[in-house]
Symmetry: C2
DNA sequence: CGGTATCCTGCAGGATACTG
DNA sequence: CAGTATCCTGCAGGATACCG
């Protein structure tokens, strides 16, 4: 049985809705930030340390977008030194499951994909 | 119960594996092409017509990448005029399910996200 | 500590023209 | 019909410096 009847969800409006979301969560850091926040409430600096390679700028931008979309809650504690904590909202948490589905697929098929790439390269170099 | 134990799949190697795949499938057209190919075997021109807005160049590039990764099979028929047909491989088909999971999440939460964005904008303009 | 502001670069992807 | 080849542009995202 084909899944064709359901892929209209992807093709739907020419893919605009889905791609607007995909563009958002695929922007290099979003999914990583969400996954890191799945452990609970985390401070800005802790996030910065736990996500290797992210710049302060990109962490801020990513968190702002997530906050704007209602996936992450930002709490500022009126203390000195300042303390700002981030946590997933219910909607943010609900993203974890489908993200894991995709991550699972990725990890499961990486060997196949890499093998296919090498075979493709070899076939290409044989052609010239 | 938290999903924290599982999010290591996302955070795993600093997210490199997952992001390599995500970068690949999030590149604006890949998922749309895969979803369109879920109907079966489709010719190049038919794909071009069925995916509004895609250029010949991007369709070709997207298909080449999918073929290289073993998600799509390309069949050239020795005829004139030429006929080239594309179809999902088993691995390509297996991507549909997790993609649908994500698409489902996206469609389900678009209203919430858009409402959150508007609220965020209003709060911002109130601040100045 | 938790950010902004600014500058800079690579490259995804569009437009267009040509081809076996 | 099914592509290449080439040029061009916007903008994601990195580096760095400054700020309340």
């Amino acid at each position: 049985m084909s899944e064709y009847e359901h892929t209209c969800m992807i093709r739907g409006d020419g893919g605009k809705t889905l791609r607007a979301i995909l563009d958002q969560i695929c922007n290099k850091w979003t999914l990583l930030v969400v996954a890191t926040l799945d452990q609970g409430t985390v401070r800005f600096t802790d996030l910065h340390h736990q996500i290797p390679g992210i710049s302060q700028r990109m962490l801020t931008l990513t968190l702002r977008n997530l906050e704007r979309d209602g996936l992450v809650a930002r709490t500022v504690h009126a203390e000195v030194p300042p303390r700002v904590e981030y946590a997933l909202t219910a909607v943010g948490k609900s993203l974890i499951a489908p993200a894991l589905a995709l991550a699972g697929w990725a990890i499961e098929h990486v060997p196949h994909i890499e093998a296919s790439r090498e075979a493709y390269l070899r076939a290409g170099s044989r052609r010239g």
